[in-house]
């Protein structure tokens, strides 16, 4: 892995963000909403609207608006929310922080459960344990998050009263309470990922266990345990890094629904509110931040993968 490889990947991120910014700008331009109307509300007079449009540059050609928007973005200025009038940048990044906390905890929980499940299923391929793991996976991927979330709240909060049903308490404010509030959403997000990742781990490990070098290691007289630990697991788990990074895309989508139900003021919730209120600058910023997060996570995963797997040669 060379510096030029890293540079190349970084430029891909820039390209990605450029494409995303174009897409999102195009969509928000066509969205049936007039930014001036959104800001002044239904009671504004036409003169007031026109004056505002003029001052916001909404009458300029679209490509100029895009250029201006991009220019402000490059200076770190995401503009102001049409809905609340607040600066978008700080609001979005604070929300992103909360979502990332949710995401990181979910990925952590998922890995702790999914990897051992996948390994067990692969070793016990075709046996009862394998079937059970598959069953769990299938049930995990069979219900949308809003249903699992509803059921989880119903059972663990309403019926059992083990956990707070909803809401968000910052960990800095009250660590234990904050964590308790995160348990249900984290579990709900993890379920689908557990199913996906445990299946990937299983199939990777099955492939590796069928490879020539595993057979060769067996023929050296190494015990099954040693073969699994030293030869198979490492190779089977490495690709999981990439898979998990790609799942971040799914996770960011799932976060939208889960944050809505659990009243977590993360970036997904911000986006939903922005979309519902046609708060165009917030939509633009939110989508762009999500895409950037996804790109950066995948970039980090690639670097990590390359660092762990010496085999991969980059130009």
């Amino acid at each position: 892995m060379s510096a030029s490889y890293i540079l190349k990947r970084l430029m891909m991120i820039v390209y990605t963000l450029l494409v995303v910014s174009l897409i999102v700008f195009a969509i928000t331009q066509i969205l049936p909403a007039d930014a001036a109307v959104m800001m002044l509300g239904e009671n504004a007079t036409d003169e007031a609207l026109e004056a505002l449009r003029q001052s916001m540059g909404l009458n300029a050609p679209i490509w100029m608006q895009y250029g201006q928007w991009l220019g402000h973005l490059l200076q770190g200025d995401f503009g102001h929310s049409l809905r609340t009038g607040q600066a978008i940048g700080p609001v979005m990044f604070e929300a992103l922080g909360r979502s990332m906390l949710l995401a990181v905890l979910s990925i952590g929980l998922m890995l702790v459960i999914a990897v051992p499940l996948g390994i067990i299923a692969a070793i016990r391929r075709g046996r009862i344990a394998d079937m059970l793991v598959s069953l769990v996976s299938y049930i995990g991927v069979s219900l949308p998050e809003f249903v699992t979330a509803t059921i989880a709240v119903l059972v663990f909060a309403d019926l059992m009263a083990w956990l707070p049903p909803t809401g968000y308490v910052p960990l800095t404010e009250n660590f234990a309470d904050g964590l308790a509030h995160l348990v249900l959403p984290v579990c709900v997000i993890s379920i689908i990922l557990i199913a996906h990742v445990s299946r990937m781990v299983r199939s990777e490990l099955v492939d590796v266990l069928h490879s020539d070098y595993i057979r060769a290691a067996r023929m050296k007289g190494l015990s099954s345990g040693t073969v699994l630990r030293r030869h198979a697991l490492r190779n089977a788990l490495l690709p999981t890094i990439t898979i998990v990074a790609l799942d971040v895309g799914y996770l960011l989508g799932g976060v939208i629904v889960v944050e809505e139900i659990f009243a977590i003021p993360g970036i997904g919730r911000q986006l939903i509110v922005a979309i519902q209120a046609r708060d165009l600058p917030s939509i633009q910023a939110g989508v762009l931040i999500m895409a950037a997060t996804y790109s950066i996570v995948n970039f980090a995963a690639d670097i990590l993968y390359a660092w762990l797997d010496k085999r991969i040669q980059y130009d």
């Binding site: 494409v19 897409i23 069979s142 509803t150 895309g249 979309i275 989508v287 999500m290």
Partner: protein, 274 residues
Amino acid sequence: MTEFLKRLLRTPQGAIGLVLVLLVLIVVIFGPSLAPHDPESLKPLARYKGMSAAYWLGTDQYGRDIFSRLLIGARATVTMAVLATVVGTLAGAVIGTTSAFLGGRADEVIMRTIDAVMSIPSLLFALLIVNLLGSSTANALVAVAIAFAPGMARITRSVALSVRKQDYVSAAIARGESASYIVMREMLPNVIAPIIVEMTIRVSFAVMLFATLSFLGLGAQPPAAEWGLMVSEARRYMHLSAGILVWPSIAIALVAIGFNLLGDGLRDALNPRT
């Protein structure tokens, strides 16, 4: 074909998946004629009823028969999901195969752009598109199809690239065949099998994506009996009668599991290794 079916039925996934999907298809085709009640007529006196001989799965918040609604809603739910997946897959397959065939700069630009599009979570992308087009079943279909296309393009391309390296494609090029013949006749038939596997599994994602769009108020429109819409509407009434929520959830889960199992079964049946 029969040999392939045998291979498919040999794995438990394939067998159960096929049975479930066939069951769903039967409901899709014959559901409306089997429904014992009008799925839309309101019955003020029969709201929130539990399971009974008259209403097998009880009634919902308007006194409508849940069983009838499920039978009729299968058509909207499953057909939409399958259609969206097929459209998304076709679009993706064409982009992916073309990109793989073109190669070089064009391929790189197409794939980087696809990567860029994929960095927007598909649910979010679908949300934006539905908002753009207005919420309706048809628009949700378009949104899900568009959201699926980049992923399918990626998969198709990687399969197509491996096919393109095959000697029979080289042979066709060396023979001087036209590009369209090579893509359509030599490459596509060999790209299709893995695509079908992926597509089958994605149907279950589509069912869930539709349900989620309905939950966010952007999918099917009431009083449609679309299952996702039924579940999301039922959330408000679940404390009054759990059945309203439970039955359509189970229906969705069965479809999702069915297509997932079938996809896995197909993969195993097509893969000589297992």
